[in-house]
């Protein structure tokens, strides 16, 4: 491979290049290897897992028994469905509210814009405490309702600031042109602003979705009914307590494989959408960082 180094730099010596290559390989392996062994263990045949003391790096015989077991309508199946539902509904609601608020606040001179912005930004400085928030959730009657995993986190200030900053960067001529053509604010938002904002919508949407998918603690304090637990909360049972993950079915996979299969299923949705949204990250993060 031929790469161009800047004229002032000169090509580094072989020792330097080797050191860099080693450093990068180590970093990449540190991230990927744990994930790899988890996947390998979840797919390995029970004899191999047990013979090797509970984990496998190269599965010799591949079996999906662990997956069929936990997807057989037991605790994990239900938890995955709960998480999927909360994530889809929550992301849709959060994106809608964030877009609407960000758009209104991005219009210069909007009535009440300044106080509302200050009201919102102040919450960044003083986030709600766990106990007072718990009281609010109880007072609003959200106990044991899936909404308790969504409404308390509806709008994230960071995401809001990112989106508002992006909307402000859209050339005003475009909006004015639409306005002269007789478009109202809703039409402008829908037909001019949003089509130009796909990147920021993707990033903010991903941030919301990941937060909803990963949330596990709230279900512990807001839900008495354990059948409503999302996957993270169920997974925690095993992480801290070694609970049984399978349903009523007779276990044929090694218990370690079953546990790792749950870890894989709890990670999979993130890893699957990740490559598609990854190219938008930098843009989204930086707009926010520069504005905040």
């Amino acid at each position: 491979m031929k790469h161009t180094y800047p004229a002032w730099q000169g090509r580094p010596g072989p020792a330097v290049r080797a050191a860099k290559a080693i450093a990068l390989t180590v970093v990449v392996l540190l991230v990927l290897f744990p994930i790899w062994t988890v996947v390998a263990t979840s797919l390995a045949a029970p004899q191999d897992v047990i013979a090797n003391g509970g984990w496998v790096v190269w599965p010799r015989r591949i079996t999906v028994d662990a997956y069929t077991e936990i997807l057989d309508g037991g605790v994990v199946t239900r938890a995955l469905l709960v998480s999927a539902g909360v994530t889809l509904a929550g992301t849709a609601l959060s994106l809608t509210c964030t877009v609407l608020l960000a758009y209104a606040l991005s219009r210069p001179g909007v009535y009440g814009g300044r106080p509302v912005l200050l009201l919102v930004l102040f919450t960044f400085l003083f986030p709600p405490g766990m106990i007072p928030l718990f009281l609010v959730v109880r007072t609003t009657g959200l106990f044991d309702q899936y909404a308790a995993l969504i409404l308390p986190f509806l709008v994230n200030v960071f995401n809001l600031v990112v989106m508002r900053g992006f909307f402000q960067s859209i050339p005003t001529e475009l909006l004015e042109a639409a306005r002269i053509d007789g478009a109202g604010d809703l039409a402008i938002l829908w037909r001019v602003v949003l089509p130009l904002s796909k990147a920021v919508l993707a990033v903010v949407g991903l941030f919301y979705a990941v937060a909803y998918w990963n949330r596990f603690f709230e279900a512990i304090i807001y839900f008495n009914d354990q059948s409503k637990w999302p996957i993270g909360t169920v997974l925690r049972q095993y992480v801290t307590g070694g609970a049984d993950m399978t349903g009523e079915a007779v276990a044929t996979a090694a218990p370690q494989s079953t546990q790792m299969a749950v870890v894989v299923l709890a990670t999979a949705p993130i890893v699957l959408v990740y490559p598609f949204l990854q190219r938008y990250f930098v843009k989204g993060v930086l707009t926010g960082a520069l504005k905040a």
């Binding site: 003391g53 809608t96 964030t98 405490g129 409404l151 306005r179 709890a266 930098v282």
Partner: protein, 333 residues
């Protein structure tokens, strides 16, 4: 003219002075509009704000109001209003509580460790990535190191147990090679390095993004000039690169110092039991266990409020210091 009128007219003046979107429709230069007129004009935009504003009022300001809990002896079925007002009794109890001070001690220690070990790591990784010329390798490594940021703490803790636990992968290897085993998971002595290593694993890659952006902004001409002067790699790093990204370093440090007590909750919540409260308790878990395990809601709220107030003071101070140093700081709108 009342103060409000004066403010409004200066408001109109300022808006008229800047070229703004919809200027034709919104404000004719010098025009003065009443509140009601502007309200009618923007009613659709106000409607758009409504759900978001309602959310902040209920779940943030409602919770802020809920902090009065800290000053009552809370009895659940009586509510805040019905419970006995005890003034600063909870706060006094807190200051005399060795468990509370233990949590403060652990929080401060872990925060300090995080700053010392976690803060420079992303910068080093960013410098390494920035020095790569090949786009393919660079993008691949970036994709890999950003990934852990998106995994939940439950998964990260599970991965660490799988790797470092008593029957984990690393101990399996060590045993096979006859090197004995290491006791990391569930070992109180190894707990603090462990939690810092976890943060490093999860967030180091993600934290490079902002450094990489700053590095790409450093003036190329300065590199050329310093190379002409015969500066080597180290001198270029010290005299060009680091000064070039200093504002970003200071900004991030200020942000981190402002959130000094926010070492994270979920990570500690998941692992506290395994090592016991003496080493595993941080302020956030203290609030949780006092409130939910012991049922002392008023007391727990007082500890939470304490952390919040210190947090605001820290952000304010950190910003002051940054401004003093001639840097931009976090807020300066």
């Amino acid at each position: 003219m009342s103060a409000i009128d004066a403010q409004r007219s200066s408001d109109v003046g300022r808006r008229a002075a800047t070229p703004i979107d919809g200027g034709v429709r919104r404000v004719a230069p010098g025009a003065r509009r009443g509140h009601r007129q502007r309200f009618r004009r923007d009613r659709l935009l106000l409607l758009m704000m409504a759900p978001g504003v309602a959310y902040f009022l209920v779940f943030h300001y409602g919770a802020l109001f809920g902090n009065t809990l800290a000053f009552v002896d809370y009895v659940p079925f009586l509510g805040i209003a019905g419970s006995e007002w005890v003034g600063l009794a909870n706060v006094r109890q807190m200051f005399g509580d060795p468990d509370f001070w233990n949590a403060v001690h652990n929080t401060v220690l872990i925060a300090a460790l995080q700053i010392v070990f976690f803060f420079p790591a992303p910068l080093a990784l960013a410098l390494l990535l920035h020095s790569l010329v090949g786009d393919v390798v660079k993008r691949f490594v970036q994709s890999v190191v950003y990934l852990p940021h998106f995994l939940s703490w439950v998964i990260v803790v599970a991965l660490f147990q799988h790797m470092l636990g008593g029957a984990g992968v690393v101990n399996g290897w060590l045993d096979e090679w006859g090197l004995g085993t290491i006791h990391v998971i569930g070992n109180p002595e190894a707990y603090k390095p462990l939690v810092v290593a976890q943060v490093l694993w999860k967030e180091c890659g993600w934290a490079t993004i902002i450094f990489l952006a700053a590095l790409s902004q450093v003036d190329e001409q300065q590199y050329e000039a310093s190379a002409l002067d015969g500066a080597g790699w180290w001198r270029r790093l010290w005299h060009v690169t680091l000064p070039g990204i200093r504002p970003v370093i200071v900004l991030l440090l200020v942000l981190r110092l402002g959130e000094f007590l926010d070492v994270g909750f979920e990570q500690f919540f998941l692992q506290r039991q395994a090592v016991g409260p003496e080493v595993g308790e941080v302020l956030d878990t203290f609030v949780y266990f006092t409130g939910f395990a012991n049922g002392e809601f008023g007391y727990a709220a007082a500890a939470g409020l304490f952390k919040g107030v210190i947090g605001v003071a820290l952000v304010y101070t950190a910003n002051k210091v940054a401004h003093r140093l001639g840097e931009q700081g976090v807020y300066q709108r």
